[in-house]
Point group: C2
Amino acid sequence: MNLWTVARRMDGMKPSALREILRITERPDVLSMAGGLPASEGFAVNELRAACEAVLCREPAAALQYGPSEGWAPLRAWVAAHLRARGARVDEGQVLITSGSQQALDLIGKVLIDPGAPVAVELPTYLGALQAFDLFEPTYQGVATDAHGPLPGALAELDPACRFLYLVPNFQNPTGRLMPHERREAVVAAARGRGLPLVEDDPYGELWCDAPPPVSLQALWPQGVMLLGSFSKTLAPGLRLGWLVAPPTLFQKLLVAKQAADLHSASFTQRVVHEVLSQGVLAQRLPALRQRYRGQRDAMHAALTRHLPPGCEWQLPAGGMFFWLRLPPGCDAQALLPAAVEAGIAFVPGAPFFVQAPDPRCLRLSFVTLSASQIDEGVRRLACILRG
Amino acid sequence: MNLWTVARRMDGMKPSALREILRITERPDVLSMAGGLPASEGFAVNELRAACEAVLCREPAAALQYGPSEGWAPLRAWVAAHLRARGARVDEGQVLITSGSQQALDLIGKVLIDPGAPVAVELPTYLGALQAFDLFEPTYQGVATDAHGPLPGALAELDPACRFLYLVPNFQNPTGRLMPHERREAVVAAARGRGLPLVEDDPYGELWCDAPPPVSLQALWPQGVMLLGSFSKTLAPGLRLGWLVAPPTLFQKLLVAKQAADLHSASFTQRVVHEVLSQGVLAQRLPALRQRYRGQRDAMHAALTRHLPPGCEWQLPAGGMFFWLRLPPGCDAQALLPAAVEAGIAFVPGAPFFVQAPDPRCLRLSFVTLSASQIDEGVRRLACILRG
């Protein structure tokens, strides 16, 4: 007899394939190209130390007390101003501070997904979003993509009842691709024409190598786009702070879901983050971070070019953290993983990123956690395995 | 035309009545007995400052990086040892660190509640739990209670399909009542006999005035009880850290839900909290906190005795934060609230704490946020309103 009856929504839910792979690859002898862990050398440790001290000296009672579910007002205002400076059309009243942008995905699932309702995603799409949405039991519809993102024409084939299309226009996880401005306009026009709302997830936008990305989809269609962001990739993931910008009609619903989920994000870390932001830490540190990642990206591109056998395909990502590699016909990335771990490297097979028609030849390589020489050695080992 | 279609589970979800009242009563001229805000004078500010500094000097990379969804292993071990010292039967592998215990309620709703499934709660029960569970659309069954908690006989009347009974045995919110040991044994025996699992929420157990509470229900029936706890009332709510102890069969399901909800709780604050805990901050500070709250409790009891008109009923709580006041026949606490705010005081009407048959005569008074003289003045004003 089972004492505890588990809800139907948990049927088939498994620990994230990604986090399970990360666990395997925690062995210190593994050169891991699997995880998208930001470089810890980029963390503003001294600034954060000073900010903790300043916040706890200046306003200890408020920083350690319960706070508003919307988030701390000055941090909401900072996010709104930051986004407006990049072209988005955001009032601070539309900003909900979340416990990382993963939580924003959970809140969106709660507020917008009924069991069985269709939800559209890119092919492939971010695994963590699928994991968050899965609990609300949508029926996924995959949107075909090319090197520039979703094909606007593919939106015409979607079920008109689709609750939203989830997409990552900047340096997508897992493909690394960037939607050019023209594609953004075409996708927004197609979505608007069909009354299809968009959920725009932008954790990587600040991590550009060559040039800042085009303005966000939210700037093109404010009432039809929810915009998600995070401090995880620019400041530090271990603080678990992100945000969600919602059209005013939806804000109250998301706020109710946030209250129920965890009352509010930490008063203390919200103030600490605001403290370092107001001292200009992003402007001071992002150029070095971009340069660092650009160097690692170039090293991986060079290593792939140098070592891989003919028939492998990839694009040079213009930012973010990932290369998306397509192996020669007949290869299966998932099947290669045990040999890779045996050889002391790790990657993430691409299949779990697809809600339909997975491409078994694809895999994701992160370039942000290894040095240039480690990247070269890691790719060399991968090439050896491919050559069998 | 509505561009955004909202999920059915949001029908009827409203911002928490409690948080709306708290917003009204933020006016500095209001003597608020509404909120259960811990006394900020009790926060270990200097210890937390030192802990932030120590953590960021000692292990900045790990403290600011992504971490395991289960929580940081040393903090999980601390929680397990802390609970074992109080009689619970807990292995650290059963401890999931959550973003406040409100998040534990959300995870439990996700993992255990199907739409329409019966869930049992005390009459009255904690409003925040109802808010978390509501999103998963249970059918509530109220369990009759007396001054000692749920009536064991009332469990016989519950639908055998009830997913669990949620209860707060120590200084319950809102009633302040404590379940004596004999009642715990009787409730566990009745629940075990019916195969009814229990969710035991214990945010207030450390805040006893006179004597430590009896051992937890989890100690009496480890495989049938989930136990929730929090650092919000003992250290600081603004850090948003709590825990959930689950039987091993359920742990993996809750872990998957936690990953989907926010990946993990903040690496940084988990380490900061562990740092102050390992330096013995609870043992150092809890006696003073208990003494402080005991003084405020006694002041409220004296004020109620001194000022209230005949026909009012209350019990002296043995700990926690709240008095539960029953007004004379014919009174309606909700209807009195505007006059109370007008008179510069605030309380929480009792009706929203009942899933059925609300008692309109009841209201909740917090004794932890005002000084003894403010409590006397607040209760005097309440008595004036009651006298009309």
